[in-house]
Symmetry: C2
Subunit: 255 residues, 2 copies
């Protein structure tokens, strides 16, 4: 049975997509079978893995609204072991269409029941706490929260943790907080240190030891349609994501 | 009659709130009467102007759902001439509640008809193209689009410009693109130059001459509950926002 992980944070631009792409890649490079579900109408995870708008077929919208099986929607990427279900532009209209549907919060969970042969399923969520993200939280066994080392990002975390609790109580009792990952940590400025210290004092051991540094190679990689792990595998960003995957696997197996 | 400006982009973390706060402040410091409407459930614009969660009364949710007049909801900030209608946590649930309401896309526009005595009304939108942002686009006379100098941000712009066209055709014929403002421009890296050049070749004169540089003082200011214009008025970020206000006023008066 696959471990399903939602990567979520309603704050925008904190590194959700970058974490989804590179964590998925790091797991695949270790020989695991990984499916990445792009649940964001922007489709950045699809583009970041080389599936630009022209090369995408049908994807997440068709799966959620029409119940088509994941196996027929999954596309291979340039990385062995990593498939992606990409985001069609129609996904932007899904929020309103889902509101009146039966089991509206469970559509993704029900679809992914049929996803066979994967060790890990990662879900890249949009920057919101509305129905698409709720579908991601209900489908997942745990949630990884990227936290950008900025003041506005820290402000929103308690609202997110509260939402995760609500989803756990009402829609998905098995949902756990996988952890909080500090992103775009810039050791040249104090603000990053302050935010990191605050996050660790609020959330303790839930905050991963691994921090993702701000690293220009990370933001260059998407324009080449590649994860930073294959664009520049010796960069500080790539090495941090390899470490993140190792720490996540260790935490999942209770080390 | 006030000029109403929506600040929108579905891409997260591109500088919408930072632009809304500092543009509003720059206009107020020039003696204009400004109202900032925080339409994002995260409430970052409210916090960034010193109204942390404890100090906020009722705000945008109450105005949209209960039709309470803006005058009773507007709170003063530490800046003369600048009022804000803050975002209550309930706003997070507004998307679903609005779907079944009458004139659901016009609720904000109808409310702001009664906002008297302002020269400018600025609306900070959440990172999405759902009903809250649609309300912002329908209430506005024009849209200012912050564009972060990053690849993923440029990718989403055409989807946004397309949505603005649709809103103009169906819901708000008076809506115009005020312009595109490059944000977090980092002259130390080529990516910023590439993105800026691409944006100018796609959108021509719609792209403002003023560019907002990446500047640590900008991201420090919110933790002090102040816009960068009053936190550090001689910083590169503050000077750029003063210039942005001047360029916007010149463009609005046809110079
Ligand atoms: N460690 C890093 N160093 C430098 N740039 C980064 C890093 N992580 C992400 N970025 C860049 O920052 C921007 C925001 O990251 P990303 O798009 O992954 O965030 P997101 O949370 O998925 O955004 P959204 O809320 O819009 O979905 C992107 O342009 C990305 O390339
Ligand atoms: N010019 C700048 N220089 C440095 N940091 C900046 C600059 N502009 C914005 N920031 C920081 O970048 C982060 C994102 O900016 P901001 O929150 O304004 O974006 P947004 O588009 O409103 O995000 P969201 O999509 O979540 O609403 C914030 O932490 C902010 O302080
Ligand atoms: Mg994303
Ligand atoms: Mg914002």
């Amino acid at each position: 049975q696959a471990k399903t992980l939602a990567i979520a944070n309603q704050k925008g631009g904190v590194g959700k997509t970058t974490t989804a792409i590179n964590l998925a890649t790091a797991l695949a490079l270790q020989g695991r079978r990984v499916l990445l579900v792009d649940l964001d109408p922007q489709g950045n995870a699809s583009t970041g893995l080389g599936l630009d708008r022209r090369r995408r077929g049908v994807g997440t919208y068709t799966m959620l609204l029409d119940g088509i099986a994941p196996a027929t929607l999954a596309q291979s990427t340039g990385i062995t072991g990593l498939d992606v279900i990409s985001a069609e532009p129609d996904l932007a209209g899904a929020e309103v269409e889902l509101v009146s549907m039966d089991r509206r919060e469970y559509r993704l969970r029900d679809s992914l029941e049929a996803a066979d042969g994967y060790d890990h399923i990662l879900i890249d969520c949009p920057p919101s706490l509305t129905l698409l993200t709720l579908n991601g939280l209900v489908a997942a066994g745990s949630v990884l929260v990227p936290l950008q080392c900025e003041f506005f990002a820290l402000e929103g975390i308690s609202q997110l943790v509260h939402t995760i609790e609500l989803v756990k109580q009402s829609l998905n009792p098995g949902l756990a907080l996988q952890g909080i990952v500090l992103t775009m940590f810039d050791r040249r400025n104090n603000l990053s240190d302050l935010i990191a210290a605050d996050a660790r004092s609020f959330f303790g051991a839930s905050v991963y030891d691994t921090m993702i540094p701000r690293n220009i190679r990370v933001s260059e990689a998407p324009s080449h349609g590649k994860p930073v792990l294959t664009y520049d595998k010796s960069s500080a960003g790539a090495l941090a994501y390899v470490q993140l995957a190792a720490e996540m696997l260790a935490r999942q197996s209770g080390v």
